[in-house]
Amino acid sequence: MKLSRRCFLSFAVGAAAGINLTPLPWKLTDDLSIWTQMWPWTPVPPDGEYTFENTVCTLCPGGCGISVRKVDQRAVKIEGMKEHPVNNGGICVLGASGLQYLYGPFRVESPMKRVGNRGEGKWKKISWERAIAEVSEKLGEIRASGSPEKIAVISGNREGTIAGLWKRFLNVYGSPNFMTPASIEDSYEAALYLMQGAKGSVGIDLENANFVLSFGAGLLEGWGSPVRMFQASVKVREKGKVIQFEPRLSNTAAKVDKWVPIIPGTEAALAMAIAHVIIREKRYVKNFVDTATSGFKAYQDIVIKDYSPEQVAEITGVPESLIVEIAREFAEASKPVAICGRGEGRIPGNVHEIMAVLALNALVGNINSEGGIWSVPKPGYINWPDPDLDENALAGLQKGRVDSAGSEQYPFAKSLLDLFPKMINEEKSYGIEALLVSNANPLFTMPDNESVRKAFSKIPCIISFSSFMDETAQFADLILPNHIYLERYEDVSTPCMFQKPMLSLAKPVVKPEHDTMHTGDVIIKLAAAIGGSIADAFAWDSYEACLKETLGNQWDVLKKQVVKVDYGFAPNPWAYESKTGKMEFVATAINKSPDSIIGIPHYEDNGIEGEAGNYILIPYDTMSLSTGYAASTPYMLKIVSDKVLYHEDTVIQVNPETALELGLNEGSYAVLATAVGEARVKVTLYDGIMPNVIAMPSGLGHTGYDDYMGNGKGVNINQVLGTVEDPVTGLNAAWGIRAKLTKA
C-alpha cells in the first residue's frame, strides 16, 4: 500500500487527536514533574510523636518564655510561650530562629586546642579531661607565681548562678576581675544608685503608663525585653501617646504617635528644657517633690538658668514651641513616663542624661509609682556560704581591678569592660596572663575593634567557653564549648527593664548535639582540679546539683511552670535607700562641693567623639540583626532589607540633601572615615534622617561563624566607632562619632 501525503497527514492529525483524548499527555506531565522532583537529596523529614516543651530563651536578656515543638527527639520549631508574663505568646526573630544555633555547623563540637598561629583557624580536638587539665594547670601556674589577680573573666551572664560561680571562682582564686559587656542597664543602675541609693535594677512599668516620652529608646528596635516592649507600646498607644526623640526615623519613631528629630547626643538638654517648662509653669507634682525629694532648689536653679526652651532649641534643633507643647502635654497626662537609651540599649550612655530623665519623672511624681520608673531589688536566692580565702587570694584581691572599676576615679562602676583594652594597651594596669570568655564575644561586640584585638594579642592565654566558632573563639588558645541554651539548665533572673522581680528556669529540651559541657560544670571541675581552698569552695558534684540546692523548693515549681513572678511587688515612692532617705536631685554621693554640678542632672556635650565640622555617624539597630553574643541567624539575614545589606556591602543611610552636597547617589559607594577606622560602604538615600547625620546598621561584618551566618557580610560598625568615658561612671557614653564621607 502506498502512503500518500494526504493519508499521512490524516493519520498524523488523527493520532494527535486520539492521544489527546487519552489520559497520556496528562499522565506524562504528571510523570514529568515526578521524574524531575524525586531526587534522593531532597530531604524527607522523619515523622514522630509531637510534643511541646516550655523553657526560657536566653539569647538576649529579655527573658521570654518559649515553647519548643519537638518531633520525637528533634526540635522543629520555637514559639512564644502562651500567657508568659514577659512575651505573652509573642516571639522575636532571634528567638524564632533559635534552632539554627542548635543544629548549625558553626558550633564547636568538642574541646579544641589551637595548633597554628592565633586566629589562623588550625585546631586540634582534645578530650574534656585533657582540656580541663590544661586549663587548671595554666591557672594553677599563674596562681603559684604569686599574682592571681592576673586572670580575668568576661561573662555575658550578669546575674544568676553562672555569674555567681565565676565570681566565686575568681574570689577564691584571688582575682577581682569579673567583667561583663556594658549596656544601658549599667548606666540606669548607676543613676538609680546616685539619686536614690537604690542597689537594684531598673524596672519600667510601661504597661500602666499612658504618655511616654522616649529620648531615643528603641522600643521597637530591641530595647529592654523586645517582645514585651512591642506589646507595651501598643498598650500605651491604645490609652494615650508615645513621642520619640531621635535623629532618625527608626521603626520606633515611625510607629509611635510623633517623631521629633533631635541632634544626636543632645537628649539631656531637651529633658532639662522640658523640666524648665514644667517648673516655670508650676506644673510639677508638688506633694511628691516637697515630701520625697531633696536638692530640688539647686536643680531648679540650673534648669531655670541654663535650659530655657529658646536656649535648648538651639542645642537640640527641636523648635521652642514644640518643647513647650510637649512639656505641657507630659505634665498634664495622668500616667506620664520618660525613658532614654539609644537603640536597643547596647551603649550604656551618659549618666547625666539618665539623671535628667529620672529628674523629669520625679517632677511628674512617677518614681516608684504606677506607670513609672521603679527600682527593682536584685534577686536574693543565691545564698552560698562565704568561701575561705587563702593568703594568696587575699593578696590578689587587694590589687584593684584591671579595668579600673571601683577605683577612686570610678567608684560606682562594677565593671568597665570598654576600658579594659585601653588599660592593657596603654599599660595603665597590670597585665593579664589568662582571659576567660564565657557567653560573650567581645572581639565582635566591643567598640574600636582594632584596639580590642590589640589588647587581646597581649594576653598570653585566652580561653573561650563559646558554643560557636565566633570571633573571640577563633582568637582563643583553647575552646571549652558550652551546651547551647536549649541543651542546658540555667536560672534567669528579672529581665532587662522588667518591673516585678521574676525568676525563671531554662531547662534542656533536647540532648546535647555535640561533645560539649555546661560551663557551670566546667567551673566546678576546674576548681576541683586546681585543688586547695579553691576546690573547697565548690562542694557541688555538678552544676545541676548546685542549681537545685540554690533554688531549694523553687526548683520543682520552676521546672513545672518555668517562671515565677512576684506580682505583689510595688516599690515605695516615699522612702529611698539614699542617706537622706529621699530621692536626691543633687546626688550627695558625688557632689562633694556646693559649686560643683557633677551630682546634678545636666547636659554635657560629650556624646559625640571626634573633630567638629564633620558629619555625625550614629549606629542604628534593627530587630533583624543581632548585635550581641549570638550572631544573626540565616533566617534573620534572609529578612534583612537590601537597603541595609547588599551582597557584601553595608548600606548606610544618608539624607538626600547631604548626599547631594557630597555628590552621592542612591547606590553609590563611599568611604566612611572616623578617628577610629575606615570602611567602604554603599549609600542609600533616606528622607527619614537628619541632614548631616549618617546612620549605619550594627550587627553586620562577622568574620567568625560561617557564610550562612554572615561571615564577610558587611562592615562591623565597631571598626569605626570609638568610646567616650562618662566622667562619673567611666562607662561608654558615645552616641556616635564624627565622620568624613567621600565618594569611593
Binding site: D30, P45, I91, V93, Q231, A254, M636, H647
Partner: protein
Amino acid sequence: MEKGHNNTTTKRYGMVIDLDKCTGCGSCMVACMQENNVPFKKDETDKIKSITWLRVYKLNNGKPYPDTEICYLPRPCQHCSGVGDHGHSPCVSVCPATATDYGMDTGIVSQIYTRCFGCRYCMAACPYHVRYFNWWDPVWPKGMEKSLSPNVSVRMRGVVEKCSFCFHRYQLAMDRAFFEGRKEIEEHEYQTACTQACPSKSITFGDLNNPKHAVYELKQSPNAFRLLERLHTNTKVYYVSSKEWVRMAGDNYLKDEHKEMARAKG
C-alpha cells in the same frame, strides 16, 4: 451555584492585619520560614530570588525630611476568591497542571508541589508576587536538616511555592477534632504561624464568614482595605490603617481621580 458557595457553613479563612500595630520586626517571616521548611541561601540580598512566603514591605509617604512617614505591610498569599467567591483566582485559572487549586470548603488556595512542573504561569498571573520559583535545589548547611518539620514537604528545584495559610495546621486541627468526635474546630485551634508569632498582635486570623471570629468584625472597619481591589481578585487578606496615604498605597489611581471615592467604589 453562587448561593451554595456563600452559605454560612462554607469557611473563608482570611486575615486582618493592623498596619498601625505592625512594627516591621519580621517575626512573622521567620516563624513562617521555620514552620514551612523554607530554604535559605548564603546570600539572600537579591530579593527577587529570595523565597519568602510572607514578605514585609516598607512603604513611605514619599515626603522629604522631616515629614517622612514609613509603614510596614506584611504580604502573605492573598488567597483570592475571585468574583462571587467562585475560586477563580488569577493563579488557579492559569495552572495547566491543577497544581494550585481553590479549596471551596476553606477558601484556601493550595499548592501541590508534586503536580507542579514549573511553567510559572501562576507567577506571571499573580498580581501580588506571592509566588516563588525554586531555581535551585534547597541545601541545608550540615546538620540543619534536623530542624525540618515533617508536616510540610520540602520543595525541590523546578517547582513554585507560596503561602498556604499553614494549611497543615488546619488538617492537624481537623484531625484532632474528628478524633474527639467534633465536626468543627474553634477559632483558636487553627491559627497560622505568623499570627501566633507576631509580638504586637497585629495579625488576626479566622473565618471571614463566621460572625463569632474576630476577623468578621475587624474587616468591616472603615479603615480596612485590600490590595489592588480594583482587579476584583476578591482577596481574603484585609489591611487596616488609620493613615490615608497607606490605604491609598493599596491600589493604583489615576492622577486626577478622587481617591477615597474611587477606593470606596472598588
